[in-house]
Symmetry: C2
Subunit: 187 residues, 2 copies
DNA sequence: CCGTGCATGTAAGCAGTTACATGATTTC
DNA sequence: GAAATCATGTAACTGCTTACATGCACGG
């Protein structure tokens, strides 16, 4: 141990989820899927690895809490853990916005083929954002709303709305681009 | 040899840049920084590694072209390379939009501290997008416009505009959120 | 008793980043 | 003569993903 002077972002995500009320690794994984996943992905192996490190560093306290014969370990933040989370929240080092999108990459190089290929790419981008909005409406936004009442936390809902509006922006951009290119195709 | 049935996205990015007129690894790296970088980052080691693979697969042809005593290797796409690029452009497997943003992550967990910390996070997000827009205006959009005339390619410019407008959207969202939260602070 | 969900991980591997190394040419 | 830019990589590392492994509990 430890010198957890600075928390890694992924460690902070796990610690923050415990602080919002997710107790086991599995619950954290579920919560991540329904909330931060769209701007901070992390799978089960990372969650369990981070839990182990955070406990070793004294930022989380873990207890075995088997349900019948089913293993289960639950965690609560320590005072040091809450302090570390607050320090991380207050840091103002510049964190980049990273985007990675192979569909935009295809559109970028679309001059190398026929025009209908570019239209197909734009359609793919729009369809993907439509699906994303459905997912926000069915899963992410309702979960964020429950977080507001269950954990008295408002920012998860604000951030979830950002995600939905981002996809609305993308769809609107697709429409504008189609207009600019002159659509002869049927919608 | 090879079974380059399907091009990796990074390989396609390098191949596509050569197809747009970037000849050496260094020029590709420069072009990437001024264009696809914001949605498909890749550093010098990947560029040189991909060039080697693409040449071995017969998708690029390379020639030594030293300038004086300074080593330099230039590439041109082969017929097979152009065909592979077109196949990649036409594939319609669903490619995800991936976002990774530690600032949004901080905002998500911002209920764990004082309200002014959340405001500071929003300010950081806005400031970052303002810097990004400056960069689009000074470097990316002018380069995309040159690509239109130099390489008769229009999509780089459309995609560059997407990037700029994305950051405008983010700034507008920050402003809306500040209003909703009730700003007492001076701008 | 069968499928779904709960629950916790390990092992292996890959993609990508960071740091380093080298040196020539051009511009101020 | 110094600084910036051109030019090409290698080595080491890290973070993350994929695939696998295991098995209980519960609803139908």
């Amino acid at each position: 141990m430890t010198a957890s002077r600075t928390l890694s972002n992924t460690a902070a995500a796990v610690l923050g989820m415990v602080n919002l009320g997710a107790r086991s690794g599995y619950q954290i994984g579920r919560a991540v899927e329904r909330s931060v996943r769209f701007f901070w992905a992390l799978g089960p192996p990372q969650v369990y690895a981070e839990l182990k490190r955070l406990e070793a560093d004294g930022l989380l306290e873990g207890h075995d809490d088997a349900r019948g014969h089913r293993a289960r370990r639950v965690f609560t933040p320590t005072a040091a853990g809450r302090a570390a989370l607050e320090r991380w929240l207050e840091q103002d080092d510049e964190q980049p916005l990273e985007l990675r999108d192979a569909e935009l990459l295809r559109l970028f190089f679309a001059d190398a083929t026929e025009p209908q290929v570019a239209h197909a790419r734009i359609d793919a981008i729009r369809a993907r954002s439509r699906r994303a909005i459905e997912h926000f409406d069915r899963a992410i936004l309702p979960a964020a709303h429950r977080t507001r009442t269950d954990a008295q936390a408002q920012y998860p809902e604000h951030v979830a709305r950002f995600g939905r509006e981002l996809h609305e922006f993308i769809i609107a951009w697709c429409d504008r681009l189609d207009n600019e290119l002159g659509v002869d195709r049927q919608r």
